[in-house]
Each structure stands twice: as structure tokens, then as C-alpha cells.
Amino acid sequence: MDKKLNLEQKKVDLARNTAAKIADHLHSWIGNYTTTTTERAAARLLGIDDVDKGDVPLANVMVDKLQQAGCLDKGLVPWLARAVAAREEPPQEIAEKLADGQLSVDEIPELPAEKWRKIADSMAEEAAAKIRGTRNKREQKKQEAMPPNKPLLYVIVATGNVYEDAIQAKAAALQGADIVAVIRHTGQSLLDYVPYGPTSEGFGGTYATQENFRIVREALDEAGEETGRYIQLVNYASGLCMPEISVMGAFERLDMMLNDAMYGILFRDINMKRTFIDQHFSRMINAYAGIIINTGEDNYLTTADAYEQGHTVLASQFINEQLGLRSGLKEEQMGLGHAFEISPSMEDGLMMEIAQAQLCRELFPNSPLKYMPPTKHVTGDIFKTYLVNGMFNLVSVLTGQEIQLLGMLTEAIHTPFISDRYLSIANSQYIFNNARHLGDEIFFKEGGKIQSRAEKLLGDACDMLQEIEKIGLEAAMEQGFFADIKRSQQGGKGGSGVIEKHKDYYNPFMDIFLNGAEAGKGGQS
């Protein structure tokens, strides 16, 4: 990639180093806590699935009972390992018996640590091997498939019914989509459990359940086989169950997860502490599973003004990157987000979009940037929207973006029809092909509007990061540094699910996932 913006390396380093300090500050306390969903994720990793008679997931049942018994601060795994030792039954059976009252938490006798640890570690290693197996299968399928052109074409399906989603996902793949996201039911982020089984009712999208993941995965694999390509599947490891959804994705071979460190706090009013702890374990799972995360900086620009707040996107990308690295994610796994949201009525707005997109590209050269389409200024004029989406596609191919979420001409009208998706794919294919190497031929005027805009954005992002570093990210979010949204440190949903760890807390997955990521450092993702 040619460097075209004449950026001052010192400034780039300053931004990155400041973000590193911000992330380190968070990590000075994240490790002291666990959360209910973190422990439920451990339960799921150890094979606990299904629901009780009242449709409560067994992972929730076990965590709730351990919490009531006052021993969740030591982690779920030690108790479960002791139960496995005492009863010589697999975790699922223990969970079932706990749920129907045949077994109580107190019945399980204490055991010397070296004994239960051995069991815990071997069960955890088995789960890790399962995830590695899924990851290898993805790698193998990708190698057998035709390599896709970039930017990759990313579309969404959002019918609310998983069987309808599967049909539409397959059709989109046959039309040329490289990546399909199944939009989630709008209320799911605030559920403190993950629904179970296939679902056919949802508003604005479909519930993320493990069975739904499997159903759409199968449909996309079929489409992949028919076309000789590998179609990537996306869902959302966000909300109150970030790590649990990551586990489900790791098992069912999802390829990408929306997985932002701050999104839940800002846009779903989820408790700050809870989110920072949850995102860490969630991202560790994604890292180990070879899943690419997508971050949600595009959302800042739908709430705040895209031209004035462009630097907040960069500041957030740097913070997301540094937090991601601390959870074992490689740069190649970080689909840092940004968006084409400057008002189309602005004179030279296109140049400003080019400046921002090129800047993201140069600041994060190894990351598969996720570029989001215009939504804020889109009206019901489908003809204009189609044209604006064309400009968005042009900027993307010109600046080497990697994950292109295609704009829909019916944005702001309805969730995409099958034909809307086709038209968006046709739009992007035309432009990406027609302007494939245009970027190689174009350089920007020294000190011109594009370079100056990029310089200003980077400078403002540096200033913002330094201010955040001074007061801490928590206080900065209280003061509304991102998206003009203010969130109190104590407020938000899910705060009661945060638990201070006991000195004997144990979760074998923390070491397995972080060391696994360490071992893979520098290798291919």
C-alpha cells in the first residue's frame, strides 16, 4: 500500500501509545472481576447446553445457583470439576440434575486443588481442541475456495425467521455476497441469557441462538459449495452476553462477530464495568477461534455529526485496537469500523470521506477495516440513495477498504428485500471492477485539502486520546466524549452481574486462550 497522506510518524506513534496507556489503565482492574455471563460462557465451553422446563438455559441455572450459594466468586469451573469428580458424570448431566433439583450445590464435597484442577484443565483442553478443530475446518475450506476480491461484499439479512434468513442468506451468496450477517432481534442485547433453539419470531432481526447459527452456517456452506467460494457468516457478540455468544460462534464456525469494547455502554446503556470485563473474555474466545471482530465506530457518526466528530472514530479505533491486542486478537482479526456519513449536501464532502477512509487505511495497515454505508442522510428517495451508495463504493475501492457493508437503496424504508440486496451487490461489483486499480494511480496533492484534513483528524484524535488518558476512559465516557452520549460509571444495565474474584478464582480458559493467541502471534490468521 502506498502512503499518500504524508502523516507525521511521531503523531501516529503518540496516538497509539496513548491508547495503549488507556487500555493498560482499564486492565489494571478488569482482571480483578468476573461476570455472570463470563461464567456462563465457561459453562457453555464445557458443553453445557439446552434449557430447563421453564426455558431457562442450563448455563444460567448453574450460574444462578452458584451465585445463591455464594461461591461464584471462585468461578464456575472449580465447582463443576469437583462435581464431575464426585459424581463421575459429564457436565451436561450435572447441569440437568441441578436444574430439576436432584442435586444441590452444597452436596459436592471439597477436593484438593491439584485433583480438581487436573480435571478442569483436561475438560478445558478438550473444549479448546474442539474450537481449534472448527478453526482448522474454516482454514481448510478457505484454502479450497476461490480467493475473494477485495473489498469483500457484506450484506445483511433480517427477516426475524431463521428459516427465511437461511433462504435469503443463500440467495445473497449466490448473487455474489462474500459475507452475510444475520441481524439480531432488536431486544436481544438486553437479555441476560441466550435464547435456545431455532426461532421464527423476531423484530428487526432474528435471535442469536446456537441452533440458528448452525442453520444459517449450513445454508451458506451449501451456497459456497455451489459457487466454489467460502461465504463468511456474521453475528453479534454484543449486549449482556458477549462471551457466551462468542462461544456459540466459535463452536458453529462463525467467521466474524460484531464485538466492540464500548458499544454496549454507549448505545445500549449497559453497565460500564460489566462491558469492559465481558468484552475481554469475549474477545479472547474470538481470538482463539480465528474470528474477525467488527467494531462499531460507525455508530458515533449516526448520532453526532460526521464531519465534526471524525476524530472520535479514530480515537475509538485506537482504543479498540489496544484493548483487542490485550485480549489476544491479532491486527489481522480487527475489522475496525468507520462510516461514510458526511452529509451529501456538503461541498467537497467526497474529499473529506476520502481523507478519512485513507487515513484509517494508513493508521491500521494490517487490519481488515470495516466500512459502513450512509444511513443518516438517507431518505426514502431510493434513486438518490443508490447513487450515494455508488460514491461510497468508489471511496472504498479507491482507499483499499476490506469489509464493505453494502448500502441498501431502501435504507430508512424497510429491512432489505431480496431485490434490494441484489441491486446493492450489482452496484458494488460494477464499481469495484470498473475502478479496481484506480487507487494505484492516484496521489494526493501535497498540503492539499485531503492531506490537510487527514492531518487535522489525526491531530484532534491525539488530543482527544491524551485527554482521555488523563482522566481515564470511564470518566471520559461519563462526560460524553463519544457520540455525545454520557454514561455514568455506576449506572446502566447488568451491573449486578459483576463479581469481585476470590483469591482462589480459577478459569482455565483465560490461560489457554491468551497463550494460544501468543503462540500464534506473527503467524497467519
Binding site: G160, G187, K376, T379, D484
Partner: protein
């Protein structure tokens, strides 16, 4: 041009030619039969001389069509009567002065995206400081206390907040319209407000891409705002309507 307003037809390039374009998908494989199916469907829609100008195989047994035809139907434009909000649109300064001079107190506005709806782009544009398209949001109005409760707010919580803050106006935004969820949510809010005895004490206003003033009235709201609404449109309505009500009470 000699238009008969009692019998208006679509216009392409000649009066009363009825020309229009439609596009749609049929769940059938592309081919001659599919093209004929699209043509027959157009005839049933009242489109004469239908012509499929584009047929695309969408895969998985679906076919997309672009079709032109001449619509035979007419509408009686002269007989149409639509309820309208009866006030002129004022600007930021005028609205604040009006409230200050005529009401002599601050107007309290509570707003939210209700139900499972997480799309705050509309309510943010109307309420938040920054506003939209150069028009300040209601938060910025010195004569208003505006509270944006954000997304996924249960109707009960919105009304509880309205009671707590003694709100003059309650604004509800509904963006997600899949399977008419917005209508359920909006109706429920009116019912709850009535049950709480709140209905006559507040202005109930809804907004969203699929909302019209007419629909809002039908659902039991005082006003509705659709696409293209700016903060001062809503502000003008709230100020004028509160003043009108205050005067009627006196």
C-alpha cells in the same frame, strides 16, 4: 395544462398517459414463463401495455423485474381532505420567544424510542443538542427542558418519567416497522396513558419514517411527524398547541 382534478392519472411525458415504473421479485425461476407471469401480474394491477424492461435471475429460484406500464386507474384529487397540523413553522428564536411570552414557563419534553426499538437516529435528530441539518435539537432550546431517554424504553417507563417530570409533551420514535410492531407499541402507549389518567394532560406525539400525521391521529395521538421533520417543526407544533390549549382553558 388541462388537468381534470377529479380524474387524475399518472404522468410520464403526456397528460393522462398513466405511465409508471414498478419493480418487484417473484419466487419463480427466471425465464420466458417468469416474464409472462410478471406481465400478467401487471395487467391485474391495472397496468396496460406492460413491458418487462429488465429481468434478473436472483438465484435460489427468485427473479427480479423492472417493468413499465400505463396505469388505467384514476383518483379524485379534488375530493381529498387530509387533517393537517394547523400552525406555521417557526424558527428556533421565534419558538423560544413565543414560549417565554405566551406561556411564561419552561416546556418539559420527554422523548424515547420505545419497545424493542433500538434505532435512535430519528429521536436524536429532534432532541439532541446538535439537532439535524443545521437546526438545533430541542435540548438546546432555552425555553425547553428536553429529556431523551434513549432506546428500548418500555412504554411504562416513558410514562412514569413523564409523570415524574410533569411533562408537557411526550415524543415517541418508532423506526422498526417489521410486522407492524410500531403500531402495537404506539397503541399500547395511548392505552397506558389513558389508564394513568395522563392522556389529556400531555401532548402525545409520535414520529418515524413510516409515520404520518394522519396515522398518528388515527392511533389517538395529537400529532405525527414523518420523514424530513426537523426539530423546529416539532418545536413549533408543541409551542403553538400548548398555547392554544392554555387559552381554551382560560
Amino acid at each position: 395544462m388541462d388537468v381534470d382534478f377529479s380524474k387524475v392519472k399518472a404522468y410520464g411525458d403526456t397528460l393522462n398517459d398513466g405511465s409508471m415504473q414498478v419493480s418487484f421479485t417473484l419466487p419463480v425461476p427466471a425465464g420466458d414463463e417468469a416474464r409472462e407471469a410478471a406481465r400478467q401480474l401487471a395487467l391485474k394491477m391495472g397496468l396496460e401495455a406492460p413491458s418487462v424492461t429488465e429481468m434478473v435471475d436472483l438465484g435460489a429460484g427468485f427473479t427480479f423485474f423492472v417493468l413499465y406500464g400505463k396505469c388505467t386507474h384514476t383518483v379524485d384529487y379534488a375530493a381529498i381532505k387530509i387533517p393537517k397540523r394547523q400552525q406555521e413553522v417557526l424558527d428556533f428564536k421565534q419558538i423560544n420567544e413565543l414560549i417565554k411570552n405566551e406561556l411564561g414557563r419552561k416546556v418539559v419534553v420527554v422523548a424515547a424510542c420505545t419497545g424493542s426499538d433500538a434505532h435512535t437516529v430519528g429521536i436524536d435528530a429532534i432532541i439532541n443538542m446538535k439537532g439535524y441539518m443545521g437546526e438545533y435539537g430541542l435540548e438546546r432550546y432555552p425555553q425547553m427542558d428536553a429529556y431523551n431517554l434513549g432506546s428500548q424504553v418500555p412504554n411504562e417507563d416513558l410514562l412514569a418519567k413523564a409523570i415524574e417530570l410533569k411533562a408537557d409533551a411526550v415524543l415517541v420514535s418508532q423506526v422498526v416497522t417489521q410486522k407492524n410492531i410500531h403500531l402495537e407499541n404506539l397503541t399500547e402507549l395511548v392505552e397506558l396513558a389513558e389508564a394513568e389518567g395522563l392522556r389529556d394532560r400531555v401532548l402525545l406525539i409520535c414520529g418515524g419514517p413510516r409515520i404520518s400525521h394522519e396515522l398518528a391521529i388515527e392511533l389517538g395521538y395529537d400529532a405525527g411527524f414523518g420523514p424530513g421533520t426537523l426539530p423546529n417543526h416539532v418545536g413549533s407544533y408543541i409551542a403553538a398547541e400548548l398555547i392554544r390549549r392554555e387559552k381554551t382553558e382560560e
